[in-house]
Amino acid sequence: MAGLIAYGAYVPYHRLARTDVAAVLGTKAGKGTRAVAGYDEDTTSMAVEAARGALALDGLRPRIGQLFLATAAPAYLDKTNATAVHAALGLDEHVLAADMAGSVRSGLGALVTAARSPVPTLTVLSDLRTGLPGGSDEIAGGDGAAAFVFGGHRNGAPVIAELLGHDTVSDEILERWRLPGSPTSRVWEERFAEEIYVSLTGKALGAALDQAGLDIGAIDHFVVSGLHARACATVRRTSGVRPEAVTPDLTGAIGNAGTAQPGLLLADVLDRARPGETIALVVLGDGAGVLLLRATEALTTHRGARPVAAQIAAGSAPVPYATYLSWRGLLDREPPRRPDPEPPYAPPAHRRGGWKYGFVASRCEKCGTRHLPPDRVCASCRSVDAMTDEPMEHVRGTVATFTVDRLAHTPSPPMLVVVVDYDGGGRFRCQLTDATEADAVIGARVEMTFRRTVTASGVHNYFWKARPVRTGETEGTDG
């Protein structure tokens, strides 16, 4: 049986209140909040966090055959971003890692490609929506990521949602577009595309239902995603599904995460769908696409470790609008009088990729001492070259001591620094993120998260930081 075998979602911790935007700019106040990637996050780091959730299932990582990263806000051009995700996840070097980048519709493309693929495929949808201050992309946009593993072909993992049918319709429409380098997209008068999208959706939905041998009334969860909010609303209202099947679009709480939106909405439905229920995922944008899935019994025991609703509920108090603007590079703040941060150097970053991207430490085979970063000589018994790899990304720890560095170079001062003692041994000093000064205390529990620490000389530096374990959250991911 082919279908979905795992999923994970990542909603960043921070929120921006739309009323704050209006208050600062003197515009009409919108309602609710949007999710905001931290100053130390981008589509690559968010993709890693979502994928870690999807790969929490024991033994799943070694079975992944290919990885696609879909985003409209790639951290790099020319250079592949999926390889950083690949490295952070510690996937085998023979696993294909490729970007599907540039358009919002690449999320649909990655999902359909994964669903059709004969090898277990990890597909990650990640997006970071930025607009000019006060513009609709800024206010209605959102940031986040979602990851899905399709497979079930001879790999032993239980299918949690069977693929019943799918279809895509492609159409070249000048509806929304953005020139490379522009911070914001432009849209045609919206009534023009509305009718087109409704018609295209009808075609795709009809074809997928025919393939599955289902009537539209059989759909239990109707997920409609797209940046054309008006067309999405019309589709929800007029497509003929039972009204109670239409799912919430979450834009009030986290905004519309573009490429990642269908993923986040699908993950949210999977968090609560019951076995046997049918899910239709509809994606509008330069055409329409439909995936029809049916939840299996296995879903109840293999849901995502961090439900979307829980991540929404765990969001921070809204960050000030000025803070958001400076994180996005739209408001330059005075830097500290310190030397500029250095970028990572390519050879050492490559030599130590297991540590830098995978957070793989070492453990002495002779005396059992853990070393972060990995060492060749044991700090305890001084054995030489008697180490085994010790993946640490899922290991939690306790703060031994801490400081707040108000002089250090950071895009969001002050820098919080903690010395973490890990459960099971080992210590590392690192930054604390998604936190306030009140979270930096001796004895605090922390877990690790993959971040973009700084961009220096045009090079992104990715590494791991600690973040507080928040009450109500379950254990994170596993290797």
């Binding site: 050492p348 801490f402 400081t403 707040v404 820098m415």
Partner: protein, 401 residues
């Protein structure tokens, strides 16, 4: 123990030290020329009488040419070395060993640093090269040393407020001393409340908890002990030189608790062994210690054996380490008030020991303990909690019988 020490085998017979501070009009070359000139004059010799040079600087020059070029030294050996903030002490240690070995009759140790030209806050040079993969999570020096504060408070049951009072008093004491020192960078007493309420730099540390960023240079001339009285009536004899580089596992090993520098404990014990000291608090007349940040000085009082574990904060509060206390610490103002030009600091500490043991410190700063005790200690470290290098010297005005 196969470390033999060179107790009483060499003596310092001349020293020089520039004022430390913001030398906008003077270069590292100028500072070197001034410090070397003063040292040579005080020993009653000329630069040509010096056989070999050890120059310490962290970021103000590379190679022996850093010294030979401005002084136009005539084909003499000059070694440039670096051991982070213990660089100046390391220059002295190497010069002393060179003379003790018999290789040279007269050696000079010089330290220099020019920090203010960079326009940066704090250290501008590389303090600790990262792995190159940029995964070390570098933090600033005050943040690094501020890691001591919450750990010390938690271990010994002080509230953060109480600990802030203690470190504030350390800063206050060193400013009182620096105010009496014409060569110090900061020459004003600072009220406790102003120190306590100053803008925060890192953790619990305000700007007055940090050593001065300054320019400066200091130099010492070393000869064999038996030759010392040819140069001066008041030589200072080297009793102990102890230096260790730690295994740097405090940031790896959860057993390290951030309330001590094991490197300092090790180097102090070795120095006391070399010097034959059993009760440093009672035997030493004064100590110049590496108060880069105020919590450092607090912890050092325990690591150097001046206070029992967990008791230094009480000794600080009671004034034991004040200028008129039972063991004056940093009577010249320390790194805090004298300033901290990296490569020069270790030799600046020795300069204060030199003045005090020879009775040449100004009366308002002369420690009364020097009337009955003839030993001084200098302590100089580089790095930070969990991974550092540490130097301890003991020097004295008398030869042991």
């Amino acid at each position: 123990m196969s470390s033999h020490g060179i107790r009483d085998r060499v003596a310092i017979v001349g020293m020089g030290c520039t004022t430390f501070g913001e030398h906008w009009t003077r270069s590292a070359d100028d500072l070197l020329i001034d410090a070397v000139g003063e040292a040579v004059t005080s020993a009653g010799i000329t630069i040509d009488d010096i056989d070999a040079f050890w120059l310490g600087t962290q970021a103000s020059g590379v190679s022996g040419l850093t010294l030979s070029r401005p002084l136009h030294l005539q084909y003499k050996p000059v070694t440039r070395l670096e051991n982070m903030c213990a660089t100046g002490s390391e220059a002295l240690r190497n010069a002393c060993y060179a003379v003790a070995s018999g290789a040279y009759d007269v050696a000079m140790a010089v330290g220099v640093e020019k920090l203010k030209d960079s326009g940066m806050s704090g250290l501008s040079g590389t303090t600790m090269p990262g792995a190159g993969d940029d995964s070390r999570g570098e933090i600033t020096a005050p943040a690094n040393f501020s890691l001591l504060a919450p750990a010390y408070a938690a271990k010994y049951g002080l509230s953060e407020e109480e600990l802030k009072d203690v470190i504030t008093r350390i800063a206050w004491k060193n400013h009182v001393n620096g105010a009496r020192n014409p060569r110090a960078q900061f020459r004003k007493e600072v009220p406790l409340e102003r120190i306590r309420s100053a803008p925060i730099v890192a953790g619990m540390l305000g700007v007055f908890d940090c050593s001065g960023v300054s320019d400066g240079s200091a130099a010492a001339i070393v000869v064999r002990a038996e030759d010392a009285y040819k140069y001066t009536d008041k030589p200072v004899f080297v009793k102990a030189l102890s230096f260790v580089a730690g295994p740097a596992d405090g940031l790896l090993d959860p057993a390290y608790d951030f309330t001590t520098f094991p490197e300092v404990v090790a180097s102090a014990q070795e120095a006391y062994r070399q010097a034959g000291i059993t009760d440093p608090r009672a035997e030493i007349a004064l100590a110049e210690v590496h108060d880069c940040f105020t919590p450092t000085e607090l912890v050092l009082m325990e690591d150097l054996g001046f206070s029992e574990r967990g008791q230094a904060w009480k000794d600080v509060t009671s004034g034991a380490f004040d200028l008129d206390g039972s063991l004056p610490v940093n009577p010249d103002g320390g790194l805090k008030a004298f300033g901290h030009p990296i490569g020069a600091s270790g030799l600046r500490m020795m300069f204060e020991a030199w003045l005090q043991l020879r009775g040449e410190a100004p009366p308002e700063r002369t420690v009364r303990t020097s009337a009955e005790r003839s030993l001084a200690l200098t302590h100089n470290l580089g790095g930070g909690p969990g991974e550092c290098v540490s130097f301890v010297s003991v020097v004295g005005s008398q030869l042991t019988d």
